[in-house]
């Protein structure tokens, strides 16, 4: 093929570094906000309980003015935000009288107040929704891990894919922690969709690796993985491009209500693709090389005769049924 080969695996250190560069600030933000008592993430009323209003006022209102009014009726911390024309108010649970009072006060300050949207979630419901959300993420993740393990019949592939998955979730969580975007029930959908997408992407690359391994070329494992990556690259990039194009349309044109949701999907799909190209396979290579070195040392100590016959180590965990001992057996058969 083309003489110049793009060496992704060879420069996998950069891939890891870039990931760390994104993940570490996110994790730092999670810890910082958690320690400062603001909550690691900006939990929405779905999970905390409380009232949420999206209103449009007749006369222009700044967030400061609105906050002054809200503080008269709501106890605890309230969040006031605004878009071009709408104002978003989030408070602790409001008693009916406080709600009436708040709306009346807003009307007297800013003229007619149209309530575009109102969510009122009791504290008990908030707790239930939170539990369900955690349950959904845990079950979703567990099922995906089971699926990968089943699909790859081998720990090494499964764990590499899981690590990439964890990476994607950390990035999404971290970015939501840094941007303080609201985390609500829809965010669970974002996480699970990202999980599905990320694994999907990783599987396609791993599939290619196994397809190439089955051809039994005498290629070094890291070279083979790099070639597989490049072969799957067009597909990976094209697919995430079309998906990102589609979701970007929702992000930019789909309206304020769905913007954060689309944002989460955008980030997740982007990192999902990134991790399957730059991290998942790289981890697989590192692990396999490490295992090979260890196996090589053990073998050299045991059996000098069959030792250094192959200059480039053929991977141990490479076959369709990778396993600690299986690779060695197959290799001797192959010769």
């Amino acid at each position: 093929m083309t003489p110049r080969v793009w060496d992704i695996i060879g420069r996998r250190g950069w891939g890891y570094a870039l990931s760390a560069l994104v993940i570490l600030p996110g994790v730092a933000a999670l810890i910082y906000y958690s320690a400062s008592g603001q909550g690691a993430l900006n939990w929405g009323v779905d999970f905390t309980g409380g009232s949420y209003f999206q209103i449009r006022t007749e006369r222009p209102a700044t967030t400061g003015q609105v906050r002054a009014v809200v503080n008269r009726f709501a106890t605890g911390q309230s969040t006031i935000q605004r878009s071009e024309q709408d104002i978003f108010i989030r408070t602790r649970p409001l008693a009916p009288q406080a709600r009436e009072g708040l709306l009346a006060a807003l009307r007297s300050e800013f003229g007619t107040v149209a309530i575009l949207r109102e969510d009122e979630v009791g504290p008990k419901i908030g707790q239930e929704l939170r539990n369900v959300a955690i349950l959904a993420v845990v079950i979703g993740l567990a099922l995906q891990v089971v699926y990968i393990s089943f699909r790859f019949k081998g720990l090494r592939y499964a764990l590499a894919a899981d690590a990439a998955l964890l990476h994607d979730l950390l990035v999404v969580l971290g970015i939501f922690a840094i941007t303080r975007k609201e985390v609500n029930s829809a965010f669970v959908a974002v996480l699970l969709t990202v999980v599905g997408y990320s694994i999907n992407d990783t599987i396609v690359v791993f599939d290619r690796i196994r397809e190439n391994l089955a051809l039994r070329t005498r290629e070094a494992f890291d070279r083979l993985v790099n070639r597989s990556l490049l072969e799957a690259l067009v597909r990976s990039i094209n697919t995430s491009l079309t998906t990102i194009l589609a979701i970007a349309a929702v992000f930019f044109f789909g309206g304020v209500t769905i913007r954060d949701f689309a944002f989460g999907l955008l980030v997740g799909i982007f990192v999902g693709t990134y991790s399957s190209i730059f991290n998942a396979s790289a981890l697989l290579v590192d692990w396999t090389l490490w295992a090979d070195r260890r196996a090589g040392r053990a073998r050299a100590a045991q059996d000098v005769e069959t030792g250094g016959a192959t200059p480039a180590p053929v991977p141990a965990g490479a076959g369709p049924l990778p396993g600690e001992g299986g690779g060695r057996r197959r290799r001797s058969r192959r010769r």
Partner: protein, 460 residues
Amino acid sequence: MGSRVGVRLLLILVLLLAAVQVAFRPLAIVGRAPVGQPLQLRMNLGLDLQGGSLLVLEGQDTPAARATPEAVDAAMRVIERRVDQLGVVEPTIQRQGANRILIELPGIADPQRAIALIGKTALLEFVDTGTTQLPEGATWSADGRTVTLPEGAVAPSAPGARPPARTIALEKKVVLTGAELETAQAGFDQQTAQPIVNFRLRSGGARVFEEFTAANVGRYLTIVLDNEVISSPVIRDRIPGGQGQISGGFRTIEEARDLAVLLRGGALPIPVQVVENRTVGPQLGRDSIEASLRASWIALAAVGLFMLLFYGLSGVLADLALALYVLMVLAVLSGLGATLTLPGIAGLVLSVGMAVDANVIIFEKLKEELRAGKSLRMAVGAGWNRAIQTIVDSNVTTLIATAVLFLLGSGPIRGFAVTLSIGVLVSMFTAIVVTRALVDGAAAVGLGPQVARVAGRASR
């Protein structure tokens, strides 16, 4: 081969027409003749798109009654009657768990009035307060022993010099309850032109009412709703026939009407509390539909253009398959009676991006087979067979995620799970069957070289 391709393309055309018919109903059967009607997407819209309220009420235990499932069911029947009176089209009312009631009120104009009406216990009581007249707004304690007077109200005439107490001891001696009401109507008092509620009691209640009023002329019969005094009229005369009126306490005729609605529907056997309320105004719903439709078109156009630029003629074929894909997803959603929500539309758009994935996988495998020197026909066969495995595998993960969301998610999120999973399933079909037929068809009409050119593009 050619004729078989023809049959397949014909079947696909039939499928296309069927999808259009199911999703948009361009033809309706009136009598026996098909009648054309304007194209309109037949789809249930979620509350977040058409506007409306979702309420979850929770039955509360009281000393008198526990919120058992039976009591909640009884409360649900009362609420059904009230909702009927609100004139909501296609409300949903169902029990959730042991002590909750889920109410969906689509397209409701004044959600706050609805909530106020639905959530009120509406226990009407006629109380014998003897010589004590209570001001409007005075409230009885839950145990019915003391009355708290509203702010600024004058205490009942006490000759002594003692300052009026805010809370007074007064036992609630209930003569009759709203359960004895036969009917209630709002109207105007003929003398004062004030809004009032006229009521008529059932025969048993009417007798009690008549006897009580006969024995207590000159004393007060206080009318209490949910432990709050509406009015405290003096009994001027014996009232026969069980007819009476409630006056005072209504600022507008609407308030009188609301009370009449509540009284006709009966009281809730247990008090309920609104534990969740999600209301979307009609304006935001319209905005959301508009914005998400625009986003969907842009997404489709962008994806279509991308495929065209990257894969040439094959991309056009994939775009055709994509168009059919969109129609089929709409048809399936419409046929299943699924409800489209705002996240649901996002799921649909996301699935458009993913639908292309199957085509991309196929084209990339096709490319490889062609590069390996196979003829177009051989390459298509081999490429497809290799691609199917990958496509099925890669979609399983998304389906796992959507299954969990469907089982555990609520409302809008469930809508997302539905559209995304249906999208993924349909996309497998269109990529594997439809694109294949189109590629075979193109080859059959001599466009083979253009399809094969895909291999020359973007080679690395």
